[in-house]
Amino acid sequence: MKNILEVKNLKVSFHTYAGEVQAVRGVSFELKKGEVLAIVGESGCGKSVTSQTIMRLIPSPPSFIKEGSILFDEKVDLLQLTPKEMELIRGSEIGMIFQDPMTSLNPTMTIGKQITEGLVKHQGLSKDKAQKQAIELLSLVGIPRPETRIKQYPHEFSGGMRQRVMIAISLACRPKLLIADEPTTALDVTIQAQIIDLLKDLQEKIGSSIIIITHNLGVVADIAQRVVVMYAGKIVEQGTVDDIFYRAQHPYTRGLLHSILRLDDEKGELVPIEGMPPDLLAPPTGCAFAARCQHTMNICLKEDPQPQLIQDEHNTACWLLDKRMRAGIS
């Protein structure tokens, strides 16, 4: 199985007036061709910084990449490309959908222009051909009467419609990789369901690989095949969606699953994770989750755990899974 993306030991920090904030502290994962991978975590865990670094969208300064490589399509390291080279890849080979549909479309350009822009630039299509394709794309994403709507401006569309337009723009050049950063967080529940359905549908039709970033585990269960769980700038657990939901090993993942509500649940107890994530200005030595974990050991405060393989593709970075623990010591 080909890997469309291989992220190795990515470390990204920000220069702030108070010092260096280590937003991403050594993240490694792979995305197979045609797969949907979800990156889950709460605010401040580094998931958005990771995805925006893949697209090289974060201005540098104040950000800087300390270490790591991002291998795209087994051919090129995205971190080594010049801005011009990256421009050629953005939009044509990697597409991105942003969170807020209200602000991610240019209010002064018609929808048609925003879609055809990419087509003309990356695929060299003539204006007419690009226009035709734009109309096809709009109907592909479920916008009725696309021939009329193509001449309209963003403010004439509702939130859900705008998100569909964004999806159309991002898919215009049939990119190999699509990154969706919290694509449904700002939308109503019924619209969210429409958009997730649409993404699933399109993924089958076009065959793009998708990275979806979200904090909503329901959405993850619906659309993802593999999951990466992030906390305080690191990956604490990754595996297939069944691994994570049914066989979670990391205390944070388990804590997260116990603290969320399910619609089909009987009135059970909500078990929150007490405390807050650490300040990444001065990340603690040892495991970042140690302060909030119920199973902290001395080693957790001193050394940062490395990913331990549990089974197949399921691994977790936790001292509880170390071979010494599994051998039954203490």
Binding site: T16, Y17, A18, E274, G275, M276, D279, A291, R292, Q294, H295, T296, M297, N298, I299, C300, L301, K302, E303, W319, D322, R324, M325, I329, S330
Partner: protein, 305 residues
């Protein structure tokens, strides 16, 4: 890297309430703004310069024995020398003393303008914005009418009625000068009014007065301060302009404007008579503006973190 031994795999007991601790020291909004301002070299230069000028305005005249209006007819139009540090004018008056007196007057006018901005402008704008609706409409229309009357016209009328002098100028400013502040504060408060903490205070039963003074104005304070740092130089400039035209303070009192006016007249022959007032005046204007810009950046809450 420490060696990982088996005995490290023992559990650590949990301390409750550890998680709610805040490790960073408490820092007020003011302290944070000051720290950010300090990093802006230009703003700090302006700030120190203004302090220096104020100090000189206070003690400068006492460093020389001469009064600002004492005429030394034997020492007329002298260049800067040992006994007259900035030289003398055509009446033999000590220019060092006159310059700092002039600065005193300018600063006085600036401070009076700032006070009026604060007491009249802020309250007017605040009340207008808080009540909104018809009250706001009426108050705004009133401002527009007053604003449309040319400032010079009012000043000249007042001079005719009250005679020229420092209080006339202050009074003239008092009629129109606070309007920009009122408008600014109104704009700020219109948007602050919708903040949830204002709604919370309303639902707790807070009176309008309490809301305006405890919630709205303190949060508009940063804009008020910035506006004042631009109002003061404006007032000073206006006075200088009036004095330049001969409508300003009464002779023999010196204001910066009058000194500039005197200096321009004899610019080619006795350049120092223009040089010193012009230097002090320009540097004062620039300093206020640099400080104002620096404050705007330092007080903007978006720039934190």
């Amino acid at each position: 890297m420490q060696e990982i031994t088996d005995n490290l795999f023992t559990p650590v007991p949990k301390q409750l309430n550890e998680q709610e601790k805040i490790t960073r020291p408490s820092i007020t909004y003011g302290q944070d703004a000051w720290r950010r301002l300090k990093r802006n070299k230009f703003a700090m230069a302006g700030f120190y310069f203004l302090i220096a000028i104020t100090l000189l305005a206070i003690i400068g005249p006492y460093l020389q024995k001469n009064g600002y209006d004492v005429q030394h007819l034997t020492a007329r139009n002298e260049m800067p020398n040992g006994s007259y540090w900035f030289g003398t004018d055509e009446f033999g008056r000590d220019l060092w003393v006159r310059l700092w007196w002039g600065t005193r007057i300018s600063l006085f006018i600036g401070i009076m303008a700032a006070l009026m901005d604060l007491f009249v402008g802020v309250l007017y704008g605040g009340i207008s914005a808080y009540y909104g609706g018809k009250i706001d409409d009426i108050m705004q229309r009133f401002i527009e009418v007053v604003y449309s009357i040319p400032y010079l016209l009012i000043t000249v009328l007042l001079i005719v009625m009250m005679g020229s002098g420092i209080w006339t100028i202050v009074f003239a400013y008092g009629i129109t000068g606070w309007i920009s502040m009122a408008r600014l504060v109104r704009g700020q408060i219109l948007s602050l009014k919708e903040q949830e903490y204002v709604l919370a205070a309303t639902s707790l039963g807070a009176s309008p007065w309490r809301i305006i003074t405890k919630h709205l104005i303190p949060n508009a304070l940063s804009f008020i301060i910035i506006q004042i740092t631009f109002t003061i130089p404006q007032a000073i400039f206006t006075e200088a302009f009036l004095s330049f035209l001969g409508l300003g303070v009464k002779v023999p009192l010196a204001s910066l404007g009058m000194l500039l006016s005197d200096g321009v007249g004899s610019m080619r022959v006795y350049p120092w008579r223009l040089l010193f007032p012009a230097l002090v005046f320009s540097l004062m204007m620039v300093s206020f503006n640099l400080l104002g810009d620096g404050l705007r950046d330092a007080l903007d809450p978006k720039f934190r973190k």
